[in-house]
């Protein structure tokens, strides 16, 4: 199980439109990807143009190979790309521990 965390900055004034587009892209496109197990979208309090998108993948390769190099990536990026103020910063994480 791998957690993708994407740190996204959107263009000024585009937050509401981005929230709608991102959730639409998640539901209609990314959720079809193999190994895509769930997602969460949060909006910054101190930085309202900042969003953290978190996606749980079964394996790292489900994201980096299957999704990024597969046929869903074009439609996905077409929906959310126009809102980006800069390239999102994306890294992957492994679970260390969590509260019960």
């Amino acid at each position: 199980m791998i957690l993708e965390i994407a740190d996204i900055r959107v263009l000024p004034g585009q937050q509401a439109a981005f929230e709608e587009a991102l959730q639409r892209a998640l539901i209609t496109v990314a959720s079809q990807a193999q190994g895509m197990l769930g997602w969460t979208v949060t909006r910054g309090v101190e930085s309202p143009e900042r969003f953290m998108l978190q996606i749980v993948w079964a394996t790292l390769e489900d994201h980096t190979v299957g999704f990024r190099q597969g046929p869903l990536f074009g439609p996905w990026r077409a929906i959310i790309g126009p809102f980006f103020a800069q390239a999102p910063q994306v890294e992957h994480f492994e679970l260390v521990g969590k509260s019960t």
Copy 2:
């Protein structure tokens, strides 16, 4: 409900010791804070010295006032502070949406 995301970089070679210390600090100190509802710790795949600590708080002030300005912050920072390679980057987030 507010999500705190702390982006933490630890000193080289200190990852295993930090994982133990952070979970101990969460369980024995931070979990006592009012409004502290749960936590998750993840370790970077591309950046193995990077940890993302996520804590769910009932309100923003439970973290920024109650915890940071209260009696638990000293013991908390004493346990985890020695591992930091730099000051953690901490911001707060509101839920936009999540998968069902």
